[in-house]
């Protein structure tokens, strides 16, 4: 019986395993150094905030794996011998495979800052990061202030976590507005204000020069180069993005660049070795996507696809219309299609913001064809299937604005804003 070995028990690896099991009775082993069982990484924050316990972040009960005949192995892979199809573990054990799936995810970026490896400096990605945070920042007596470096999705989640325990937070963002490299200005600025409303000390347009240590080799303060200011703190969260977690693959003969290089079939240059999820790097981005997509959803889609290939139905990874979501403190965000920070050539943005400063949308469209290209929505839930269909059917922006209420996904009895949005949209057209 063919033995499929998957390194990594995150969403990509587990989805691959589940789908292989649905399609075949191949022997499946999932290896993880992080945890015994699959858990939802995106839910780590809720453990620290006390909304859930760790066990609640595990989507399947522990009996699930045995019942589905999926073997779980807790070990750290130190080397891949792709010629003899063998894995070497840190404790010198070995395991042979017939097909290998690399799904090792990401690790937090560190950009060579002085002091980046001190005690009390951490990312927020692995379960172990959470344990470190719990040790260094259990409450606001032990941790008088936290500094977060990097204004993206993980940074704001870490800020929310610390805020839930009333630990003062200074949030350093290199861009001139929060997540300014992704969000249009109006949205990003609304989130800036929302962050400040939560009493988080948001510093825009600043970098990290160095992290200073106390006598015990623990974080004492950070220095901001722009102002020369020294901020005393007990922990530093490094949340300036993530990159593929593939150090152990070097010298294995598997081609890597920033991530593990794969073709559209998620195959590497070595036969019977595949990569999915955050750690996989396409030779070129698909339909405007980045070559590396460190997103929950794409990890899952790659898993769904690769299982087909491994089970004999060779299938291209072919993601549909882009979608994503996040939550910035109390404001939910969803996106469908493409909306970039600024409209591209022959493109325009329509932006609407509610007066309460917690809801807004940005619609991107083509000014020559009037085609609807994408939408960002904040504080208003919208239907994935409706936008997916509209994008496929190439609807015009007028059509979308007119029918926007069909896409509304807010709970019943919520106030609706489609009429106000449509009015604003029509007014804008008149003034242009």
């Amino acid at each position: 019986m063919e033995h499929i070995v998957i390194i990594g028990n995150g969403i990509s690896g587990v989805t691959t395993a589940r789908h292989i099991r649905k399609l075949s009775d191949k022997k499946i082993t999932i290896i993880s150094a992080e945890t015994d069982y699959f858990f939802s990484r995106t839910a780590l924050m809720y453990i620290y905030m006390g909304h859930m316990k760790f066990e609640h972040t595990q989507p399947y009960e522990n009996w699930f794996w045995k019942k589905n005949n999926i073997e779980l192995k807790r070990a750290y892979v130190s080397k891949i011998d792709s010629v003899n199809k063998q894995l070497y573990f840190e404790n010198n054990d070995t395991l042979s495979y017939d097909k290998l799936v690399i799904a090792t995810g990401s690790k937090p970026n560190k950009f060579g800052w002085p002091g980046q490896d001190l005690k009390g400096v951490m990312g927020m990605y692995h379960k172990q990061d959470l344990e470190t945070l719990e040790a260094y920042a259990p409450n606001n007596n032990v941790c008088k202030r936290a500094v977060i470096v990097g204004g993206g999705l993980i940074g704001i989640e870490l800020a929310e976590m610390l805020n839930s325990r009333n630990i003062p937070v200074t949030f350093l963002v290199r861009e001139h507005s929060f997540w300014g490299s992704v969000l249009p200005k109006g949205e990003s600025e609304m989130i800036n204000r929302h962050i400040k409303n939560h009493h988080i000390d948001l510093r825009l347009g600043v970098n990290l020069q160095e992290i200073k240590a106390d006598d015990n080799g623990k974080v004492k303060s950070v220095i901001i180069p722009e102002t020369g200011e020294e901020i005393a703190c007990d922990i530093v969260g490094l949340t300036a993005g993530v990159s593929p977690n593939i150090d152990f693959i070097k010298d294995s003969g598997i081609e890597i660049s920033r991530g593990v290089k794969v073709n559209r079939y998620l195959e590497t240059n070595v036969e019977d070795v595949y990569a999915v999820g955050d750690c996989a790097e396409q030779h070129e981005g698909i339909n405007g996507r980045r070559p590396i997509e460190a997103v929950w959803y794409t990890g899952r889609m790659m898993g769904e696809t690769l299982a087909q290939t491994i089970c004999g139905n060779r299938t291209q990874y072919n993601p549909g219309h882009w979608f994503n979501s996040a939550k910035f403190l109390d404001i939910e965000y969803q996106t469908y299609g493409w909306v970039f920070t600024k409209p591209g050539e022959n493109e325009a943005h329509f932006h609407w913001k509610h007066e309460d400063d917690t809801k807004c949308i940005t619609v991107c469209y083509d000014t020559t064809t009037n085609l609807f290209l994408g939408i960002n929505t904040f504080g208003i839930r919208m239907r994935h299937d409706v936008f997916d269909r509209w994008l496929t059917e190439k609807k015009t922006v007028d059509f979308v604005m007119d029918k926007l209420s069909e896409a509304n996904f807010d709970p019943e009895f919520y106030k609706t804003y489609e009429a106000a949005i449509l009015t604003a949209y029509k007014n804008q057209l008149q003034t242009v």
Binding site: I11, K22, S40, T42, A43, Y46, M49, G50, H51, M52, K53, H56, T57, Q58, P59, E61, P138, N139, N140, N141, S164, R165, N166, N197, H198, Y297, R300, M301, E304, T305, Q308, T315, Q316, Y317, N318, P319, G320, H321, F323, S325, A326, K327, L329, D330, E332, Q334, R381, M382, R383, H384, D385, D388, T392, F409, D410, P411, E412, F413, Y414, K415
Partner: protein, 538 residues
């Protein structure tokens, strides 16, 4: 304020600032209110019961209101679950167990030792103790002295109103939550509490009837003494019997078809009302294990079968007649015992055949259990007919025994002692989930024939588990959401909290077309269209 349990060994807790100063004052206020009740319970003579009762209830309410305002209005609108798994009371810690024991003890005394509360313990059978404290209010509302049920009803109503206010503040960004909370407060205060008292004032022959309480939750509605009292109360009594039958057979099915069982369970029902308000802090404690779900299905349907058989047996005995002065007088109602039993049998057969013919797929593997339940009830109809004696015996035991067994085990122990007393241990809906026969019937219809479902928003789920964690009915909501499947479960009471806490906007409670309501998927929206079709159409 730190929500994290402090494991320091220091005697002076280094961060003793779990709650604000205002909240401490509010807590003290509420506890003084409870203390007055305790004094009364201990039979300490309070000079002016009217003043002390008013003082006690106002202090409890005021304490809850001030505490809630400080807890929620000092923060921005949003999900307020910080620290629920750290706090002792809401995570089965010391205070959780303490509260559980106190509540359980209260229910045992209430149901089985009402004399300890002072019922009829004074001279000439007047009340003393806690019950006497409530006499002035009862006199005001209906001109009679209080009973233990009046005391219970008053405290129950105060709890729903005060904690309902807290819940409304907690979800002040969510109109669905606010409206349904206002609704349960209204139905509790009006239908369960005030209207029955006023009905008594108008016509003292009418037995207590909470109009919103539907059989079989209201299991005593069709019991012999109750039917007798209704019939003695004249036309109004007959009208109430007819309303009771219509509630079960007409009103309930129509509303459940249109809105799912939530119209009742989380908008109207008193048990649900208490669970959603005073019990809100315990919703995360319900077990989401597969094994708990299996137990649930066995238990709740067993209770349903038991309650149907019990009710049929009691009504059958009633329709036969009664003993008067040593002779058995056959009853002369327009409905004979035989006709009654036959029509029940036909009705159940109609439902059974209908489901088997048209809803076989929805029923799936549970068809076998449905058939067993149906066979059991039909069999017992025959036994009731053939073994029923004029003495009221059926199954060779007295139908009165059956009735009191149901009242004792289900009505008191299950719904009260375990159902509410164990809030801080098993979660706030354990009665609704494991025991309520009404929930079983509504749930059966919700699964088979209703427009209600929780829609999953395409491929947006991140499997975080907030939905499952906050489901008071123990549904593993995430198991469906992460597969892109709608949630169509008989136990769902439609409280809407899973949808509220979802950080990615994935869940929406909806009433929509029957087609596509149950939508099993393997590959989620967002992936290759061909692949989705290939896998999902299989």
């Amino acid at each position: 304020m730190s929500n994290k349990l402090n494991h320091s060994m220091s005697l002076a807790k280094p961060d003793a600032q779990d709650i604000s100063k205002k909240q401490k004052i509010a807590l003290a206020t509420g506890i003084v209110g409870l203390f007055i009740l305790t004094l009364a319970l201990l039979n300490i003579d309070l000079p002016n019961t009217t003043v002390f009762l008013a003082l006690s209830l106002s202090l409890i309410t005021l304490g809850t209101v001030v505490y809630s305002r400080d807890a929620y209005l000092t923060k921005l609108e949003g999900i307020k679950n910080d620290g629920v798994w750290f706090k002792s009371i809401s995570s089965r810690g010391f205070w959780g167990w303490t509260l559980g024991v106190v509540l359980t003890a209260f229910y045992i005394v209430l149901y089985f030792f009402s004399d300890l509360l002072g019922l009829g313990q004074g001279v000439d059978g007047t009340n003393t103790g806690l019950i006497a404290l409530f006499d002035p209010l009862s006199q005001l509302l209906s001109g009679r002295n209080a009973s233990q049920w009046f005391v219970y009803g008053t405290l129950y109503t105060v709890a729903i109103a005060a904690f309902g206010y807290k819940f409304i503040l907690k979800y002040r960004h969510n109109r669905y939550q606010q409206l349904r909370t206002i609704s349960v407060i209204f139905f509790q205060l009006g239908f369960a509490y005030l209207i029955p008292e006023f009905m008594y004032v108008m016509n003292s022959d009418i037995p207590y009837y909470d109009l919103k309480s539907v059989w079989p939750l209201n299991y005593y509605l069709f019991q012999d003494y109750h039917l007798g009292e209704f019939l003695n109360a004249g036309n109004i009594g007959i009208a109430l019997i007819i309303f009771g039958i219509l509630s079960t057979l007409v009103i309930t099915p129509i509303l459940t078809y249109k809105y799912g069982k939530r119209w009742y369970c989380s908008w109207v029902c008193g048990c649900g009302g208490l669970a959603e308000t005073a019990g809100d802090a315990f919703r995360q404690l319900s077990s989401k294990k597969m094994s708990a779900w299996k137990l649930e299905r066995w238990l709740i349907h067993t209770v349903l079968v038991f309650s149907v058989i019990m009710t049929v047996a009691v009504v059958s005995t009633f329709l036969k007649g009664s003993w008067q002065d040593g002779t058995f007088v056959e009853a002369t109602y327009w409905l004979s015992n035989k006709t009654f039993l036959i029509s029940i049998g036909l009705f159940l057969t109609l439902i059974f055949v209908g489901v088997m013919l048209f809803k076989k797929n929805e029923l799936g593997k549970d068809a076998r259990y449905g058939a067993i339940g149906y066979a059991l009830v039909i069999l017992s109809l025959f036994i009731i007919y053939f073994t029923g004696t004029n003495g009221g015996d059926i199954f060779f035991i007295n139908s009165g025994t059956l009735k009191s067994a149901y009242g004792f085990y289900i009505g008191s122990i299950f719904s009260g002692v375990i159902g509410t007393g164990f809030y801080p241990i098993l979660g706030n809906r354990s009665w609704c989930r494991f025991g309520c026969p009404m929930a079983a019937i509504l749930g059966f219809q919700q699964r088979m024939l209703s427009k209600f479902r929780i829609t999953t928003n395409g491929g947006q789920c991140i499997s975080c588990g907030n939905c499952s964690n906050s489901c008071e009915m123990g549904i593993d909501v995430r198991a469906y959401a992460q597969k892109g499947e709608n949630i169509v479960r008989s136990s769902c009471v439609g409280c809407g909290v899973c949808s509220a806490v979802c950080p990615r906007g994935v869940l929406k409670l909806e009433n929509g077309a029957l087609e596509g309501r149950i939508n099993p998927t393997e590959v989620l929206l967002g992936n290759d269209v061909d692949l989705m079709n290939l896998v999902n159409k299989k």
